[in-house]
Amino acid sequence: MQIVSPFSCSITTTQLFSYFAFSAYQLRKMSSRRSRSRQSGGSRITDDQIYDLVSKLQQLLPELRNSHSDKVSAAKVLQETCNYIRSLHREVDDLSERLSELLATTDSAQAAIIRSLLLR
């Protein structure tokens, strides 16, 4: 596992600092991962672990929550997870757009009242 070094000759100090910060973060992550695998008695992740995590994820998904886990394959859970995350992103976008329009048109006095109510 190697760490890439930037090849650009003219490099600013901020870029250098961010590069070193990131590689320090990488080294910390690598060492923590190695120590974690030593504790679990091997470098391979067991299938049971993955199965537990996948079933935990399945409980969060609205569509697959009710069906039994043995009828739903792990691949389907991951696929549904991707679709769910995409739909959540889209909802956030729509709500941001709605909020931006509402902020433009709402009377400022009413907005102040709402804000004071919520930030109490």
């Binding site: 596992m1 956030v92 902020l103 433009a104 400022s108």
Partner: protein, 163 residues
Amino acid sequence: MDSQLLNPTSLKSRFTARFLRALTKINAPNPISSSSPTPREIFQRYRRIKVAADKSMAYSVRSRTTWSRATLSRLRTRSRHRRLASFGPRSSVTTAAVLKKTSSHGKENEGGLGVQAGELRELVPGGEAMDLCNLLDETAHYIKCLTTQVQVMKTIANLYSLE
């Protein structure tokens, strides 16, 4: 409608407080404009609100998860890019190259989930450098935070649109 915040230190209340403060800041420089704002202004405000929502959520989670750290660093790099516009492309290329080199590690034991895991890695911030176990963990937390975000924004939008 749940307007009561039961636990003052819960994720929902932390996010709500931060997001409302950000909304106040976004709305402040705009004095009462009687005429309808231009579409460009609305688009700018939409972008600012969206960034504020993601930023508020990432700050409420602090650095406890990899995805929040990735989001925060991405936000900081983007704001730095806007200030040092001439150096923007170079630093993003460096970061992307470093991430690509680390992405091959920890993916040996994925079983038959390679394709979907790759898709998931693109959706969850910081997902490229995680092995499958951590990726699934982070995804669960990320989904929980996204649903909280959607819930709070929906409530705020409903409150604003009551009049």
